[in-house]
């Protein structure tokens, strides 16, 4: 692997950039692997990388029905934060945050992790109660998250409208300074390059038709468009398509897949220094390094794998942005797109072993998977390598839906009374 650096860049410039090597080869499947990972998004590629780097398991294939990073990894609004309420969630996402810190150096690929701060707006008494609960819980969990007055919030994010007579006035905000954004494609490419350099095969445009199980019920491998590939361990990290893949192994999942839309504005000079989220009006916004305002929308109400999504949702999202940031009303939407997110009943992921020998899953990240990318990859690799969950992902089992030990971040946000 050619080491990337300013020097390498300089050297190659002088030779007209003719000598850059390909970042990852276009691998063809071998007959057998120790581990097959289904889904070449950030999570799956990350798992492959950590399997090779930390567990010495390099005979690994990452298989995707399309191009790597072409799913939610390349379609999200790149928000990274860890200020979750429950201890389990806070640890899970903070673990990811720790890995984000040095990811560029670790991968020798600049993923542009930008600690610009994520600010969540409170608009009513109920929001205040809920955010304070988060802040205090985070503080005692060692997760940074602090309370801002509306005035402080405006100082931190000048375009913010803190007028008292707004329909949804800003009455305060919770700020996680260590949170921010990263360059989503670079995360997938960086993991792919680093994993490939350690011997991992990345097999693109190779749909998995079924997970094959033996008479003893254990996993034998996967049937793909390029034939049967043998492996005693298969880890499914297929986001919106998880239900479909797991069905082929005879497992029905507590998942539903919904279209999630996002959009960007035309690029403008820097005006928006941080990330702002308002769950109450459903507005999620930051400004990319290219200058576009990156805006997250909600999910459509119905289960769907069509990456289309309707106009009404976009209308509402943009209206919400203009409500909180009235100066953006004359800005223009440049592009909108859709992804497919897999949602669990308690809005928390499932990351661990399945009741089938040799089968592992990483799914249910809903609208928040990107922020967890390094953590999910790291923990999935651990779980696969050791055939037992890491303490951090131990609570995120499938069994919790049987016992009732849910980790319900959505419910914790609760509803106004």
């Amino acid at each position: 692997m050619t080491q990337y650096s300013a020097f390498a860049l300089l050297k190659n410039a002088l030779s007209g950039h003719k000598n850059w090597r390909e970042q990852w080869p276009d691998a063809q499947p071998k007959a057998e692997y120790d581990v097959i990972i289904v889904g070449a998004g950030g999570h799956g590629l990350g798992a492959a990388y950590y399997l090779a780097k930390e567990h010495g398991i390099t005979n690994v294939a990452v298989i995707d029905k399309g191009w790597l990073g072409g799913g939610n990894t390349g379609r999200n609004t790149t928000i990274i934060r860890s200020n979750y309420l429950y201890d389990e969630s806070a640890r899970l996402y903070d673990h990811a945050l720790d890995l984000w810190e040095d990811l560029s150096q670790d991968l020798n690929y600049n993923v542009m992790y930008s600690k610009r701060g994520v600010m969540m707006l409170a608009h009513n008494v109920h929001d205040v109660q809920s955010f304070k609960r988060h802040i205090h819980s985070n503080r005692l969990n060692g997760v940074d998250n602090r309370w801002l007055s509306p005035e402080d919030a405006k100082v931190f994010c000048p375009p913010l409208n803190i007028s008292r007579d707004a329909r949804y006035p800003v009455v305060g905000a919770a700020l996680q300074m260590r949170a921010g954004t990263a360059r989503h494609d670079a995360v997938a490419w960086g993991y792919a390059r680093a994993a490939a350099a350690r011997g991992v095969d990345i097999i693109q445009n190779c749909p998995v038709i079924a997970i094959r199980r033996g008479p003893d019920g254990a996993v034998q491998g996967v049937d793909t468009a390029k034939g049967f590939i043998r492996a005693k361990k298969v880890a499914v990290s297929a986001a919106g398509n998880t239900s479909v893949v797991m069905q082929s192994a005879g497992l029905r999942m507590p998942l539903e897949s919904y279209p999630l839309q996002a959009l960007v504005s035309e690029p403008i000079k820097p005006v928006f220094p941080c990330v702002v989220m308002s769950n109450t009006v459903h507005a999620y916004i930051s400004q990319s390094d290219k200058g576009e305002l990156v805006i997250g929308s909600g999910t459509d109400q119905y289960v769907s794998y069509s990456q289309r999504g309707g106009l009404p949702l976009i209308e509402h999202t943009v209206a919400a942005i203009c409500e909180v940031f009235p100066i953006f009303s004359r800005m223009r939407m440049l592009r909108k797109w859709g992804g497919i997110v897999d949602v669990t009943p308690d809005r928390s992921p499932i990351l661990g072993k399945m009741p089938v020998k040799g089968l592992y899953v990483n799914c249910g990240w809903g609208t928040g998977g990107f922020k967890a990318t390094p953590g999910a990859g790291h923990l999935l690799a651990w779980t696969v390598a050791k055939d037992e969950p890491h303490p951090i992902n131990a609570p995120f089992t499938l069994e919790r839906f049987t016992t009732g030990r849910l980790i319900d971040e959505a419910a914790a946000a609760a509803v106004a009374h």
């Binding site: 239900s243 479909v244 507590p254 009404p312 009943p345 049987t402």
Partner: protein, 100 residues
């Protein structure tokens, strides 16, 4: 914005008049207390979430107010048909043949 046919109003109307109500034919067990924890979990949480034909429920909440069933392709979002609550799950293949 989808167009949805309400089997009670017998009109095809825009999505804002409707709300989605989840997978269809997930009937509440007659005697929940007789179910194992696993069976109860399946009723509560496990869904088929198919890529393709989906049997689902909608409510014409801003219309006649009725819940009804629909068959929709989750890849194209096209509705194959809608039918009244309580009616048995139609055999889609049979319907397709009939159509041809």
């Amino acid at each position: 914005m989808l167009l949805i046919h309400c089997p009670y109003c017998d009109e095809t109307l825009p999505e804002p008049e409707f709300t989605y109500a989840g997978e269809a034919h997930v009937a509440r067990p007659a005697d929940p207390m007789a179910l194992s924890d696993e069976e109860w979990r399946d009723f509560l949480f496990v869904r088929s979430n198919p890529r393709g034909t989906h049997y689902e429920r909608w409510r014409h909440i801003n219309g006649c107010g009725r819940f009804f069933n629909a068959i929709r392709d989750t890849v194209t979002d096209k509705f194959a048909m809608t039918y009244r609550a309580g009616e048995p799950r139609p055999n889609l293949d049979a319907l397709k043949e009939a159509a041809e």
